[in-house]
Subunit: 361 residues, 4 copies
């Protein structure tokens, strides 16, 4: 059934296959009066784009987004915004290799069984290529959040394989090809990637996404809690296998006296909660972590079956990242921004009358 | 805005505060013809119920559920099912302690700021008491899944504090008060709980939820992927701070050649993916893990502020679990069952025509 | 699939059969801070209630509504509001007459074919008894609209059979049992009803619903236009077969020069549009008309079939209105109020930033 | 808030302004395996297209639709279908006339007040130009309904001004420019249109939409009744001011003994209900009527105000239909088809298990 939409009031619907004619997106519910041009989206699209560094795939898509509606004289009009990216680099390739085989670790088998038919070219709809549109829509949300509310959404690579970062220097993130906030670890990441390329293998990654300056009050308990909706939106990114809010799985070993964040007139003393209490933002930074699996598109041969159900082997050649986690940084930002944007509008709808006399901390 | 509903075709909407008159739920979209009585729900409600063992809170709610509609002559009719549990144990208590103070680690502050008004009695709507209705609704989903499709949804405690289990014996789970599948660890859990009670402190926990016999094909990419919707539904449970599918955060250190599950004519050789590929169930067991934070309802004094924004201290007396994770076992089962049920119906709607000639493995 | 919910931000979900244990409703998304007691709903419930006059059915239900959640110390808290009405007058009746026969003009046949099972007692879920909950939920919407925005939603009977009203005197509506705004027509209505009762037959009716003081701007083009959503909500009332906005079907014979409402600095000169332009409220009165069919619950024998598909005859005895349109007046008000309330919150969510310098007329 | 989507399982989302770069649409939830090409949509687009006859506007848009995704090797894949129509006839026109004035009877004023900004070129998003995408999406639904279930959805002009048809000959509908099923009335329609053109005025119309071969069981009471959803989808068409199901407003004067459709082993004897009982399709033809207002785009000067709220006058020059009802025939078909398609999938989701032994009539 229809599953290509995310959000309730800020609603993003996408289409497009890896090797089809184009990718597209409709943003419905963007408030009117926001200054918006293609350039606002292009920056993040470029950050996500393959082929931008030697660490990511060499597929070259300009990923040029076009605004087709919803903007008039440079401003959003409150009507639905149509976005389009044409696929210019659809190499006419020989797909006989994967047409009748199901690549292990890929969606080939499940798409085939679910739909009875599948666009096998480059993974079709299951390809991470569709995330370009998430990034474009996310850029709109990011701009609104920043401009109207001062909310900033940023992400970084916090671990790849067994290499972890030791510090977070926000100024470093855009200074290297890994979105790594710890300059001292860039070389280790570099080395790991080079090793994997040589071996034709891949590796997983952990990202951290942070939204700062989030107002208190976002989130709609009990099911559309902010954390639940963030978990949904981040887990919907290709290759993500885990989502944490705040301390995440570390809480398993924590005591209550240690985990709860003390409150003072000057604010919270710690942020174990990741900025969300009872499913509602607390005014602290919203912090989430995600785990991305190593891509299965590798040249190490894999055991699998064909459409007849017979045993066979497959190698995935082509232009593939050894670590898909790197390029997921702008995607994670986009998804968190879309979810925050949606909750901001939802909160406004129901709670416009609310006046509290309690000081916000 | 409206956030008390989960699901699209199998839709569960709940109401009720901890110390209000009653909890209630409407299940909309349950297929007709399912044999259903209160007893089908009571079993899981009893498993979740506080006061059933010395390890959980001593609040005594019979939690007796009543079916008010949607069932005729013992069968569901396809119309909306109304469920009700009266709150019989609303001790008239002195709430002056928490009326004007925000307990750290609780939703007191965020509810107050969001809504301007809050039912402070026992946490009101933010109390885990509302999960009783999730369990009741989940029991309906579990029954349908089991009876019509042979799908079984079960959960267990896999870690509390630093005590982890070493093996999973499904027969052990209901034999102890911890839903622990490893008989050899029951004593260690018991000891930990006793220690915490003495100290007035609490501890986090990790649960594992497994659905077996799931058909291939459930999940609606790209946003309503099965894993994304599971992340949403599990993260919506009170106190959950992390969700993993399959290997979860372990994938960060895995290689692609190691993570991808090889396919053979006899089936998958491993299940690193947790039964979901490309957001669609693969036919393997669906496996998820969740991390539950230590409850903040402890007798260790906590630093906080009052409604005037002034510094103060708070102690949470009352009947509270040292580890809320234990009672969350039936809740986690319920939420996974609700999500699978929803996706089963969604899949049926769009894909009723699909015929594949590929053998399912 | 799940169809027992209406609204997006102000969301109403109902359950309950005619002769089940109870009717219930969850209102999700009501803004916090609204003073609310059962009495606020009871007035409209009493207006809808059967047995209140000699013109309506003699079934005697006190229809006493209970608030189970979402209200604390007399104020809504922003959490979901649970409402319950127990069915106290479930006469243990002999249903053998309609158990195996499909009453013509009723939902018996379609429910049976759709679900394979049906609660035949008094029509089960298809009975207009469920509208009691619409009225209760509508009363909450009406109170908020009135109190916070000064919006008033009222309805009246404008035609029954061939008897039409000639004038609208709002003060008359509650002065007679027909919700008739034209005192001179009360006797004609009375005579018609008495005649029908004698003949065991029924008659159709036309109602007019008006919302005054509606702000300009409500409605979300292009599909969730205000008129489209009003059409949905009014057509969802039992027995409604037609919905008009403003001049409705009269527009077929109108000229453009005649239909368009001229605008002046003092406001619109006419209201052919019924207060909606381009799917958005214009600030004028929102005016709708609905046609209600004559009930099929009559004692004139009807030709039909039984479950075996064989020809037979059926008479519907019992306590039935000769004109269901009369009691539909508070129901129509409720549905319009629910839809306006929903759109008010939706509009607020997206357009909170909008500032126009154009004077509202 | 987001209102540019219709449907739940078969979900259509659109974008595009009258004089923007392009119109677009995403169809989400179309079952896989349906043979689909642009030609399947082009036929209905051509029927809707302005400039096809001397009776409709002379704006010349080729309205050529392109499928951008969701179709592979000529078959739908179950993924979202992206459609695009470029606006090729965006005359660079002088809009100073309507830029600062609100045309009476148009959405100019309400869009301006709601959003604070509007694309005034040709009405922007409020223009009926957006219905091209409804027609394209509707064509997909029509094809599926016809091919898989034998359901046919057709419409015709039943009245324009005071000229009504006397008979329905389906074969005549495509033989004239009015979609008129009564050959004897074509001349009278022609005469009326010529007269209006001369006068620079416009006229309303009434259309009838019929779906035949609809299976029993579609519709989800109590709110998502089939009739309620049809009312929503038909009322969402520009200029529609009234919707009737079956006998519609005629029921006001009918008796119950006359209205209810007798059932026999051979089927229903009449169809006053319009094929829907209790909100569920009965297996008879689904019949709806709609009233379309006379367009306000006329050359007769109209009294209005400007953005400063001052009195002024306006004339709408340009290429406009004297009767927008004519071109609405394929639009009405499209909307009914989309709603039926959605309900077909919804019904399948919940009721796949249902087996009744009662013969369908």
């Amino acid at each position: 059934m229809a599953g290509n939409t995310i959000g309730q009031l800020f609603r993003v619907t996408t289409f497009g296959e890896s090797h089809g004619l184009a990718l597209g997106c409709i943003i419905d519910g963007c408030p009117p009066g926001l200054a918006l041009t293609e350039a606002d989206m292009q920056h993040d699209l470029d950050r996500r784009r393959p082929g931008t560094s030697k660490y990511t795939t060499q597929r070259r898509e300009p990923d040029e987004v076009k605004i087709l509606s919803g903007v008039f004289e440079g401003q959003t009009t409150g009507t639905s915004i149509g976005l389009l990216i044409e696929n210019t680099d659809q190499r006419s390739k020989d797909y006989s290799n994967i047409k009748d085989k199901f690549r292990p670790g890929h969606a080939d088998y499940t798409y085939h069984q679910k739909y009875g038919v599948r666009d096998y070219r480059g993974g079709g709809r299951s390809s991470a290529r569709e995330t370009a549109m998430r990034v474009a829509a996310g850029a709109v949300a990011k701009k609104y959040l920043k401009q109207v509310h001062g909310i900033e959404v940023r992400a970084y690579l916090s671990q790849m394989g067994d290499v972890t970062i030791d510090k977070v220097d926000w100024d470093q993130i855009e200074q290297n090809a890994f979105f790594c906030p710890d300059a001292d670890k860039v070389e280790a990441f570099d080395e790991l990637i080079r090793k994997l390329k040589k071996e034709g293998d891949s590796i997983g990654a952990k990202l951290t996404v942070v939204a700062s300056n989030v107002p208190v009050g976002l989130g709609e308990p009990v099911f559309d809690r902010l954390d639940a909706d963030i978990a949904h939106s981040l887990m919907s990114i290709n290759a993500v296998k885990g989502v944490e809010i705040g301390d995440g799985f570390d809480v398993v070993e924590q005591r209550g006296s240690e985990h709860r964040d003390a409150m003072t007139p000057e604010g919270f003393k710690t942020n174990h909660a990741g900025g969300i209490l009872g499913g509602i933002s607390s005014g602290q930074d919203v912090v989430a972590h995600i785990a991305l699996k190593p891509t299965s598109s590798i040249t190490v041969p894999g055991e699998t079956i064909n459409r007849q159900g017979e045993s066979t082997e497959v190698i995935t050649k082509g232009r593939h990242d050894p670590c898909v986690g790197i390029r997921a940084v702008p995607i994670a930002e986009a998804m968190l921004a879309i979810t925050l944007m949606d909750h901001l509008l939802r909160h406004r709808g129901q709670n416009a009358d609310v006046v509290t006399e309690t000081p916000k901390i």
